[in-house]
Amino acid sequence: MDILLQLTFAGIGMGSIYALVALGLVLIYRATSVVNFAQGDFAMFAAFLMVLAHLHLGLPYWASFLVALAGMVAFGLIFNYGVYYPLRNRSYLPVLISTLGASIVIQNSVLAAYGPHPANLPGALSFQGFQVGSVFLDGQYLVIIAATAALVLLQHLFFEKTIVGKQLQATSQDKEMASLLGVPVKIMIAITFIYSAVLGGVAGVLVGPIIYVSIGMGGAIALKAFAATIIGGFGDIKGAIIGGVVLGIIETFGAAFISVPYKDAFAFIVLFAFLMVRPQGIFGEKIAEKA
């Protein structure tokens, strides 16, 4: 029983990271109808910004964190104008391929600048965690879970209570109509990219201390985030969050009880199962094309 609780805790922690990246994916998808295949690299890039600011420039942790987030704001803006904007009037396929290209650019630019060696990022807090009964609550996992919960709550308030939030919603539901009503759609989409980059960035900085910060970390996280969006219901915000957490738990249990080398495969097996039985996911509506 204790081991189950312990694994569930770790699963929720890792799942929160998937949820953050999945959230970014879904927000961009809702605004642009395109899946961003570089979303995982947003997390990787931010983690390296953190490594640069904190470990190499010696800035304090929280200052480095702000530097990384500021970097992600610029990054999201550049991504919007460099990768999405020139192709915005084409079908999804060119944009999708363009984000794939961007993923290669980001990974290899970091590789060229930093080299292939992974870095070890310290955690946000100095305390290691504490014991509750027989379950050890690791400090960094607690930070991850708390930060994810806070972000999700803030985002909800932002979307429901602010004008910009409502304009973002309008943009994702009907761009033409929103534009006719005076919503600056182009700016809304740019904001979406920036916000998604920041979300990915937070995920990257938070997960850094748990897994090594490496060039390939984004790809692995992004695939799980994709799986999470489908399991939760493609394009559904609450589905992305719950899908991410569910996936984190499944993966942790799979690695503990079945096989470590195939750890990454469990998420995909669950994904295939969903695609067979319930492709619309937990919260999604039935997929249909309109005439």
Partner: protein
């Protein structure tokens, strides 16, 4: 002679330049002494090109993205490696194993994932690619793990062993040339046209009789097979395989090769592959940032060269090409089935039809009977359910309740392509053509529907399509791209596509929408001429003068229910109809 064969025999002559090109490459390889390094480069380019040509089929023709081509390449390569080294098969046995394994893997993945398509397909293929990489690395008993499998033999043929580099290169070039010609000719077959129709407009393809799911699965499987063959050639050529050769990064490289060359063009794909194999060598000075430049060029190709090198070359040579010669007097359009069928029972009988979207009752208890060789008009105010009815009749929506009988057969809930196969053709209110294809090709997709009265010969298909184009007055535009036509002309091509299928019943969804006065008069004449051919037509229309000119009978819908039905004179005087259109008070005034 089946259409496929007749196309092949007709087209193979046009591929002579390619055959000569292949021959020249063979002569070059045999006569010029090459360093081991140069041999490797050429071998890599030829074997990769075979695999990338698979992407021409699935991405270029059928418009489905896959990020697992390196996985199928790997399956082929490992099948040969395991077959020859571990199981002791000859190369040919290994090749067969590779073809079987990649075909089965492709079919299974395609069958399970192609119902979804789009982004789902991209993700699922990435996942498949990742799982294969995991298996190749971790299933050490079979795959030998990260160390890979060395010592893969080369084949012998007619007593000659191809163990020498030059001999094996010739073998791979011959294989590549054959695959290249196959993929090029495929484009002009029924299957190839169906793929392109699915890519351009899936919904229009399905109502034109294309089983879109099956076509996508076939395209995906063929692509996997070519990936497997390429991998088999690669494994034997380099005599060594290891998991990192077949990673997701390789899949993206394959994709880039196809895009750079122009995924829709087989020759372009091959050129793109060769360029990208050679490019790394010339970009060595870039060292670490080489891959970053690579990714950047993917984005730049998407932005500035969406059709790749092939599209670029096409624009350059457009002026040099001479248009195909078409006969001035096209054969008259003969439609066979209807004229021999004078029976009195209605062709289409709808009883108690309902379609609900959640709580919205778009159609409720609708009855409808369309008599043979009649023009039956379906009218009603906006939002009365007319288009929903046509979408249910053509199989796009499944009815919530009720029965549909077409030509004495119960077709309730049948798929669009099945209905098209039974002789039901339609057009759309917002025109749906295959935008990258010519007028003739558009109409040929309609003409090639299953169960059409045409013989299986390619020539007949072309003749019927030309006849249909002439019938609607578009005969002289047969070779023009539909994207360049005016709105009215596009509408005519769409009607020709439906006509060429020799339908028993033609459904026209607001054909006069967006037409000017002259075009409307031409449409009236066309409708009457189509009726003269013996056709039965169900037409949705808002234009009352037009309806009065052509309709033999009228059904009126309002709020999803039938409110009137019968002869035009009676229906148009029906107080219920007048009040639906003009409001309650006016109806009393008229009455």
């Amino acid at each position: 002679m089946p259409s496929f064969l007749s196309v092949w025999l007709g087209r193979i002559g046009r591929e002579l330049p390619l055959l000569l090109g292949g021959l020249a490459a063979v002569v070059l390889v045999l006569s010029v002494p090459m360093s081991g390094y140069a041999t490797n480069i050429v071998m890599q380019a030829t074997t990769y090109a075979v695999a990338v040509l698979g992407l021409t089929i699935v991405l270029g023709y059928a418009g489905q993205i896959t990020l697992a081509q390196a996985a199928f390449f790997g399956i082929g390569a490992y099948a040969v490696a395991i077959g020859t080294v571990s199981l002791g098969l000859s190369f040919w046995g290994g090749l067969l194993l590779a073809m079987a394994a990649s075909t089965v893997a492709g079919a299974v993945l395609g069958i399970t994932s192609l119902r979804l398509g789009g982004h789902y397909l991209a993700m699922i293929t990435i996942v498949f690619q990742q799982i294969l990489s995991l298996v190749l690395t971790n299933w050490i008993e079979v795959s030998h793990g990260p160390d890979g499998i060395p010592g893969i033999p080369r084949p012998s043929l007619f007593g000659y062993t191809l163990s020498g580099s030059a001999g094996y290169l010739v073998f791979s070039i011959v294989c590549l040339t054959a695959v290249l010609i196959f993929v090029r000719i495929l484009k002009h077959t029924r299957l190839g046209r169906s793929m392109e129709a699915v890519r351009d407009n899936e919904l229009a393809a399905s109502v034109a009789g294309v089983n879109t799911y099956r076509v996508k699965v076939v395209a995906f499987t063929l692509s996997a097979l070519l990936g497997g063959i390429g991998g088999a050639l690669f494994a034997s050529g380099f005599s060594y395989v290891s998991p990192d050769q077949f990673s997701l990064a390789e899949s993206i490289v394959f994709l880039t090769m196809a895009l750079l060359g122009g995924a829709g063009s087989a020759l372009g794909t091959a050129v793109g592959t060769v360029l990208l194999v050679l490019l790394p060598e010339s970009l060595r000075f870039l060292k670490e940032i080489y891959m970053a430049v690579y990714g950047l060029s993917v984005i730049l190709i998407m932005i500035f060269m969406p059709e790749g090198i092939a599209g670029f070359a096409r624009r350059l040579t457009r002026r040099l090409r001479t248009p195909a010669v078409r006969p001035h007097h096209a054969p008259a359009l003969h439609l066979h089935t209807v004229t021999s069928d004078h029976r009195d029972e209605p062709l289409l009988v709808v009883r108690g039809l309902a379609k609900h979207f959640g709580g919205l009752r778009a159609l409720n208890n609708v009855d409808l009977a369309v008599r043979r060789n009649n023009i039956h008009a379906l009218i009603g105010p906006n939002g009365s359910g007319k288009t929903t009815l046509v979408n249910v009749l053509s199989g796009i929506y499944k009815p919530t309740a009720g029965k549909i009988a077409f030509a004495d057969e119960d077709v309730t809930g049948a798929a669009p392509h099945v209905l098209a196969g039974l002789g039901l053709s339609r057009t759309f209110q917002n025109i749906r053509l295959f935008r990258s294809m010519s007028c003739l090709e558009n109409v040929m997709v309609g003409a090639q529907r299953p169960g059409n009265d045409l013989s299986d010969v390619h020539r007949d298909l072309v003749a019927r399509s030309l006849a249909a184009l002439h019938f609607v007055g578009m005969g002289d535009r047969a070779d023009d791209s539909v994207a360049n036509l005016s709105y009215g002309h596009q509408r005519m091509v769409e009607i020709a596509r439906a006509l060429a299928a020799n339908p028993k019943l033609l459904l026209l969804d607001e054909p006069a929408a967006g037409l000017n006065l002259t075009e409307k008069q031409e449409l009236v004449a066309l409708l009457l001429r189509m009726k003269g051919l013996g056709l039965t037509i169900l037409i949705i229309e808002h234009d009352m003068p037009l309806v009065e000119q052509v309709a033999d009978s009228i059904t009126v819908l309002n709020f999803g229910e039938r409110i009137s039905d019968g002869q035009p004179e009676a229906v148009l005087r029906d107080p219920a109809v007048i009040s639906a259109y003009l409001g309650e008070g006016r109806a009393y005034a008229v009455a």
